[in-house]
């Protein structure tokens, strides 16, 4: 061993011993991955503020608006297709040194995308955001002002605002009960992977398929008149739009092919890199025009598709299953043809993650606060079962887990579909990722979630088994009728307001507005039942309002926004000629995300115990204290914190209330329907909404004050309030049915890295996972970083730039989240297994 190698090896061991996994990764990964990982401009906002050097991309907004104006005679989808095609033909493209995969949604690596056709309120923020206006600033501001003037009143959300019920609009826009906007301009788009990613077709094949549908339709429209031919006129224009965008996409890839060839032939002198560039060129000639033939082409096909979709809209999630769909190509290249070594394949896998990590688009402040440190919740689905129920894990599943530990990105993350047939080797790989402090994969109980998917929407079991995480948590099939083209995040409820409004007759004292229904003066409530019924009424009101806005958003989206590209890669749209966001042909897979949920059970339990059962306080006294935000009532507040039962301690008193609340919600979830006529179950989880809403939720009977961080979400107990250990947490969480009582339930657990070191640690974790599975839980995720490391990172952030933590349904670099969120994570109880 050379002296340098010996030194490095010594360093590595020391880092491993100290569990400084980010240094281990840096010393272990290939030179290429090291370069590419460090080459990424961090697009996630740090505590809500963009990094220096990050700039808004103006090329897309300018080109899009230019073409949009020119084609004002065309219907929405066709006009949109022409506008995006114009962008794809003219936007600057680039290839990073050492890269083997190409494609970015901005013109340069440090830019973030802006969609001026989405929402005027966002456009105003883009204009006023300090530091992100590109140089020369004066000129850029002038261009941005012109773009904003043009789109003012004409964006998807402006148009929707004019048809929404005015009262719903005002309440929704108050910002205290909902999240996101009801348009596909900013949402979580599912994909029909069974159509597009099974290697059966490329974009040229789809163009040909569409030719067939158009020919048949054109024949009919020149035949005998009747009502059946009338919809065909619009469909023909939609098909034309799909073909335009598919052709533009092929040309876009060819631009990369040309660039790679130009670099190879004119600039590059290293023979190995010259060859790589020619391979990139060949790859981009092949895909997405034709189906992929090898792993690089398969990843590139997928990546072009993801990038192209993001030229059309801000897709904040990436519901995908890369080990499943790319696995056969890995097997062919590495195991059968042996054209790639495992190390070479690992470079491609790591780079595929880096390409996704690089994604960046402008997020308004509300979103940045709720999703600190990242630009989306790209939860990639791993593992699971095949359509016939057999184990779907493969060598690529393992490669992804290994690559994750090398590139250590906070977005994408993984959700692993556990089932009883998962091999130990794969479980060990999952554990290694968790042990390395990535906070992912989150562990999902596949049998439970497949059953849940069938139960709530009636998806056939074979289709349910294809499921991917549509956002952080919710399963969605990847099939023709099962996939959901858009999840609009505005069906996200700030649930702590349910109990707050039940105790304020529906009046919101933070925004000074009558929000919920008048459910009676709480001072007059004579017993717990009256309070509970008031809570039920507030819950129903909140779910209804949010669902109404999304249902309308879905129906109006083809008219107000339009998704020609997403339609062109979806079988049901290619076949029907209808915009994919239209619910026609979709089975339905909606859910209402429940932020800040557990506060309801803890608060209801506190009132029941201290006011109605023990009669320690009157309702009048408690409401007076809440109205004062607990100020001047500290002793009483501490009584509500310490002497009222809290969720997560296997205490039936409060757990029964939680179960009752969930069952009320589940029952109502069957009554409210999506545009396809299907159900709207609830899904308790949080991003960092618990911090964002801290100043918007008033004092609560669980002892929380206005301004205090809310609980970290899902069904996780309040930080530090789970005092009886991890088994008690699991027992509480298994008292309800994870199939019938809701869509999915997020559970955060903090584990001790010291306790879980080595083989003994794996065994302990395995035993925990066995209990978790036996109890029928659907989700659990782990933070495995100790307090000392987290506190050191707070005092010396420069040294801990690569430290990752699990925030909620997503991971983030610890130094990129606000102090309040950091403290909230430290507060969570570290459980000993």
């Amino acid at each position: 061993m050379t002296t340098v190698a010996a030194k490095q090896s010594k360093g590595l061991k020391e880092h491993e011993k100290a569990q400084e996994w980010w240094w281990v990764a840096e010393q272990t990964r290939s030179k290429r991955l090291d370069y590419l990982r460090k080459a990424v401009w961090k697009k996630g906002a740090i505590g809500g503020v963009y990094n220096p050097g990050i700039k808004i991309d103006l090329e897309r907004p300018i080109l899009f608006t230019e073409a949009w104006k020119e084609n004002n005679q065309d219907p929405q989808m066709l006009r949109k297709a022409k506008a995006i095609a114009h962008v794809l033909e003219n936007i600057t493209i680039f290839i990073t040194d050492q890269a083997q995969l190409v494609g970015y949604i901005g013109s340069l690596p440090h830019t973030i995308q802006w969609y001026p056709e989405g929402a005027s309120i966002v456009n105003e923020e883009v204009y006023n955001e300090p530091g992100t206006v590109p140089e020369p600033e004066e000129k850029s501001l002038k261009i941005m002002a012109e773009i904003n003037d043009y789109w003012g009143g004409q964006t998807a959300i402006d148009k929707l605002g004019r048809v929404l019920n005015p009262e719903d609009l005002v309440k929704y826009m108050s910002g205290v009960i909902g999240w996101g906007v009801p348009t596909s301009a900013y949402g979580y788009a599912g994909k029909d992977y069974e159509y597009i990613l099974t290697g059966k077709r490329g974009f040229e094949d789809i163009i040909e398929e569409i030719d067939g549908y158009m020919d048949a339709a054109e024949k009919k429209t020149s035949g005998e008149p009747g009502p059946d031919i009338l919809p065909l006129y619009d469909k023909i224009l939609n098909w034309e739009a799909m073909q335009i965008i598919l052709e533009a996409s092929i040309n876009f890839a060819e631009r990369y092919a040309r660039l790679a060839r130009v670099i190879s032939e004119n600039f590059e002198s290293d023979p190995k890199r010259k060859e790589e560039l020619m391979r990139i060129s060949e790859t981009c000639e092949q895909v997405p025009a034709k189906p992929p033939r090898n792993l690089q082409e398969s990843f590139q096909f997928d990546w072009f598709m993801q990038t192209l979709a993001r030229f059309e809209a801000y897709e904040g999630a990436m519901p995908c299953r890369p080990d499943y769909y790319h696995g056969p190509y890995y097997d062919k290249d590495v195991n059968i043809d042996k054209r790639l070594t495992k190390e070479e394949a690992l470079d491609l896998v790591g780079e595929f993650m880096i390409r996704a990590h690089e994604f960046g688009a402008f997020i308004p402040r509300l979103g940045r606060e709720g999703l600190q440190g990242v630009t989306g919740t790209f939860v990639w689905t791993m593992g699971g079962v095949n359509k016939d129920g057999s184990d779907a894990c493969n060598d690529l599943t393992v490669a992804f887990m290994q690559a994750a530990r090398l590139v250590r990105v906070s977005n994408p993350t993984f959700g692993f579909r556990w089932h009883p047939k998962v091999k130990e080797e794969v479980m060990r790989e999952c554990f290694e990722c968790i042990r390395h402090g990535l906070g992912y994969p989150s562990m999902r109980n596949d049998p439970i979630l497949v059953e849940n998917t069938v139960y709530w929407y009636g998806h056939p079991v074979e289709e349910a088994r294809t499921w991917v995480h549509q956002a952080c948590m919710s399963p969605c099939p990847t099939t023709k009728h099962g996939f959901q083209p858009i999840r609009m995040a505005s069906a996200t409820a700030n649930c702590a307001k349910m109990i707050e409004y039940a105790l304020s007759d529906g009046f919101d004292k933070v925004v000074q507005m009558q929000m919920g229904p008048k459910t009676g003066d709480p001072r007059q409530f004579k017993g717990f039942e009256e309070l509970f019924q008031a809570w039920v009424a507030q819950m129903k009101w909140m779910m209804s309002l949010l669902v109404r806005t999304v249902n309308l958003g879905r129906i109006k989206d083809p008219e107000f926004f339009g998704r020609p590209f997403l339609s062109s890669i979806s079988e049901r749209s290619v076949e029907s000629g209808i915009d994919v966001v239209s619910p026609e042909g979709e089975r339905g897979n909606c859910w209402v995300t429940f932020f800040t949920w557990v506060e309801n059970a803890d608060s209801l339990a506190a009132v029941k115990k201290l006011v109605f059962d023990e009669k320690k306080y009157t309702m009048d006294e408690m409401i007076t204290a809440l109205e004062a935000e607990w100020e001047g009532y500290e002793e009483m507040r501490l009584d509500f914190v310490n002497n009222a039962p809290k969720w997560g301690n296997d205490d039936d008193y409060v757990d029964d209330i939680m179960v009752r609340c969930l069952r009320e919600v589940a029952s109502y979830s069957h009554k409210i329907k999506c545009p396809s006529g299907n159900n709207w179950p609830a899904l308790p989880e949080n991003v960092s909404g618990n911090i964002h809403y801290a100043s918007l939720v008033g004092a609560l009977p669980n002892g929380r004050r206005l301004g205090d961080a809310l609980y970290d979400g899902g069904i996780s107990p309040g930080p530090g309030l789970d005092k009886k250990g991890p088994t008690a947490v699991l027992k509480s969480c298994s008292k309800f049915d994870h199939v019938k009582d809701g869509r999915a339930f997020l559970l955060n657990q903090r584990l001790s890295p010291t306790q879980l070191a080595g083989e003994k640690g794996y065994k302990l974790w395995s035993a925990y996972m066995k209990t978790w599975a036996e109890l029928g839980m659907d989700h659990v995720q782990f933070n495995m970083v100790d307090d000392t490391t987290l506190r050191s990172a707070q005092t010396d952030p420069e040294k801990y730039q690569e430290l990752i933590v699990r925030v909620a349904g997503y991971s983030a670099h610890f130094v990129d989240i606000s102090r309040k969120t950091q403290d909230n994570i430290i507060q969570r109880t570290v459980v000993g297994l």
Binding site: V262, N266, F267
Partner: protein, 54 residues
């Protein structure tokens, strides 16, 4: 008038040399890359500060 056609960064398309790609090397604080943008051969290059005579 100086045009893109006379610039070393201009790479004409094989099937239509009247148009092509302007390819440039960029080194930013994090990474080095080549970028490309479509241009016509007759585009006025007199105001382009990246122009390099062939």
């Amino acid at each position: 008038m100086t045009t893109c056609n006379e610039c070393t960064n201009f790479f004409p398309l094989e099937d239509d040399p009247s148009t092509g790609d302007c390819v440039q090397r960029v080194v930013d604080p994090r990474q080095a890359y080549y970028k490309s943008k479509p241009v016509d051969d007759e585009t006025d290059a007199s105001k382009c500060d990246q122009f390099q005579k062939k």
